[in-house]
């Protein structure tokens, strides 16, 4: 190979079977160098299996995993230029923090000089802001601190790719948010590729350059967070990456009208005619107080619940003849919020309606 590979990791029609279970089915994906990629999907969809195939703990049943352009078939974990932050950290309980972090450096052959090991270990601990904790035992550390030890233990080796398996799942909300920001700046600082597994859509959207959405062993969409949220490729993605209101109906010949079950017609951006499920994000809906007009595309209804979200207000509105819809209004728009029981009128732009063939 002459030219440097552009992708740090590449899956070429990779499948993984555990007996009868097809955990990963025919995945093709490329992780560009230096990117922060989030692998997002529900529990059991095969995310960990993908990471373990990159780490070398599992061999693909079919296909090839490439790291930095090199096929990895049969290459054992200890010869792969990647490091992993394990789901429950997997810190060595019999070693102190320093010995945990320096473990990888001490495995190198030819040996790295002692002083150098100590120096790099201290740097890594400094980087995760655990400077004073070198001699602590790992079980004396809090969850958040253990998390950072695990991080330091991996990055001290300067891997080409850092694999993170639900690294923040065990932390409380506030700590998680802080760690999200820390991870992001750490990735910028180090300039190495991060592949982070998560089932938390908010985490995936907020941290990564690319979100790779998985479902049932397959990759459904890989795109920047904005695109995944605004232009989900399937109904599954739309549902998984955010709140949705679903409407079933038929796109009429001409492709610009969506006829709902109750006869109501809504304008849509040009679509192929046929039966569809349309999805509307709660924040794409505008809520006006007052009685609804008689227009066919108007959605009139009654507020049933109001939930205060801090920065926004969420309404549940029972639409006449259609069922309940969620509407999110930010607070500035809701200075004078509608009360439960009040009649309201909902409207939205045609391009906010995401349409999927049923």
């Amino acid at each position: 190979m002459t030219a440097a590979a552009v992708n740090d990791i590449e899956f070429r029609s990779v499948s993984k079977r555990y007996g009868e279970v097809l955990a990963v089915s025919g995945i093709d994906v490329a992780v560009p160098k230096g990117a922060f990629v989030a692998l997002l999907g529900p529990s059991g969809c095969g995310k960990t299996t993908c990471l373990r195939m990159i780490g070398g703990f599992e061999q693909p049943s079919e296909g090839t995993v490439l790291i930095d352009g090199q096929p990895m078939n049969g290459v054992p974990p200890y010869r792969r230029p990647v490091n992993m932050v394990f789901q429950h950290y997997a810190l060595f309980p019999h070693l102190d923090v320093e010995a945990n972090v320096s473990y990888g450096l001490r495995q190198r052959r030819p040996r790295i000089e002692r002083r150098e090991v100590a120096k790099r270990t201290a740097q890594a601990l400094e980087l995760v802001r655990l400077g004073g904790f070198a001699k602590r035992r790992v079980h004396e550390m809090s969850g958040g601190q253990q998390q950072r030890v695990a991080l330091a233990r991996a990055i001290v080796n300067r891997p080409a790719v850092l694999l993170l398996d639900e690294p923040l799942a065990a932390l409380d909300r506030k700590l998680r948010t802080a760690m999200q920001i820390e991870l992001q700046s750490l990735q910028r600082e180090l300039g190495i590729t991060f592949l982070l597994v998560t089932h938390d859509q908010e985490e995936a959207l907020s941290m990564s350059d690319y979100v790779c959405v998985m479902n049932a062993g397959q990759i459904v969409q890989m795109a920047p967070p904005q695109e995944v949220y605004d232009r989900p490729r399937t109904l599954f993605v739309a549902d998984f990456v955010g709140k949705t209101n679903r409407l079933s109906g038929t796109v009429e010949a001409g492709g610009t009208t969506l006829r709902l079950g109750d006869g109501r017609a809504l304008p849509v951006v040009a679509q192929t005619p046929g039966a569809v499920t349309a999805v509307l994000r709660p924040e794409a809906i505008r809520l006006d107080r007052g009685e609804c007009s008689e227009r066919m595309d108007a959605l009139g209804g009654t507020v049933t619940h109001r939930i205060f979200l801090g920065n926004a207000v969420e309404y549940a509105v029972a639409i006449d003849g259609l069922g309940e819809m969620l509407v999110t209004a930010d607070r500035s728009a809701a200075r004078d919020p509608a009360e439960p029981g009040e009649r309201v009128n909902l409207s939205f732009k045609p391009e906010s309606l995401l349409v999927f063939p049923a």
């Binding site: 703990f57 200890y78 060595f92 019999h94 473990y103 990888g104 495995q107 080796n157």
Partner: protein, 288 residues
């Protein structure tokens, strides 16, 4: 604040602990006190015990130096040999064997325990005796070899008899070893040998120490194996005690030897646990 609930709680605890405490008192503490009293007494002319306070019996200990020497050499040596054989077996069972085969394999190790050690050790007498292995070896032209009644024979018997006792605690500690730690070690660049030496071995040390301590302590009081396979040439303290209490009826001297043995066990155990803590790096050593 001593609440009623607190008092009741303490009462329940005491009630639960009572049977065990009573057992220990009757079968452990009282006999030991009796032994202490005997050890400082004199031998009655016709055997048995005369009250008194003398160190005579302890000054006599060198007379049984051979028994002490054999025991203190062969018991730890036997335990270590046991360990060398047991560790790979336990490792295979806990780490390598398919989980669905484990139960069968573990029972294969335990089942021989259901027949008497006496019978099984007798079998070794024939195997190592002149009509056994030595005979077989001489037919293929090797020089005549005496196997029975040697330290080697006693060690063979020890390893054979105590193997399951060594395998079990090691198996348990390896079994509960978190496999993800092995993955993590490999992920950090450790070759399988380094992972074994750096992770698996240290984390199984509590099991190893338990096994070694258990087997060593039992061996310090061993009687049967040296009796059958050592044939009066290789004898342990246990054999000396049988001799003194049942044959020559020298209770005070026997007691002095027994007391010394207990002291040796306590010292050995304390030192071993200290070392185990140091290595395992935890303040807690699980006894199985």
């Amino acid at each position: 604040m001593a609440t009623r609930a607190g008092t009741r709680h303490r009462f329940v605890t005491a009630a639960l602990a009572a049977p065990a405490a009573l057992w220990m008192l009757v079968f452990l503490v009282l006999p030991f006190v009796a032994m202490l009293v005997f050890a400082f007494g004199r031998r009655a002319p016709e055997g048995g015990y005369l009250p008194g306070f003398t160190f005579e019996q302890f000054l006599n200990l060198p007379a049984r130096a051979a028994a002490f020497g054999n025991t203190l050499m062969l018991a730890p040596a036997g335990a270590l040999l046991c360990l060398l054989v047991a560790y790979p077996v336990a490792y295979y069972l806990a780490v390598k064997a398919a989980p669905r085969h484990r139960l069968v394999l573990v029972s294969l190790i335990v089942v021989p325990f259901w027949t008497s050690l006496l019978v099984r050790t007798y079998a070794w007498m024939y195997i190592l005796g002149s009509r056994g292995l030595p005979n077989l070896l001489s037919t293929i032209g090797l020089p005549d070899l005496r196997m029975l009644n040697t330290p080697g024979a006693v060690l063979v018997g020890i390893v054979y008899g105590y193997l399951p006792l060594m395998i079990m605690p090691i198996y348990v500690s390896l079994e509960k070893l978190d496999r993800r730690l092995l993955d993590a070690s490999a992920d950090l660049g450790a070759r399988p040998v380094s992972t074994f030496l750096g992770i698996t071995l240290p984390l199984s040390l509590p099991g190893v120490m338990t096994g070694v301590a258990l087997v060593t302590i039992l061996l310090l009081g061993e009687y049967l194996i040296p009796q059958l396979l050592g044939g009066g040439k290789v004898f342990f303290i246990g054999n000396a005690l049988v001799d003194l209490f049942l044959q020559s009826r020298n209770w005070p001297f026997g007691s002095a030897i027994a007391v010394t043995l207990v002291l040796v066990v306590v010292v050995v155990l304390t030192v071993a646990m200290r070392i185990a803590w140091r290595f395992a790096g935890t303040r807690r050593v699980d006894l199985v």
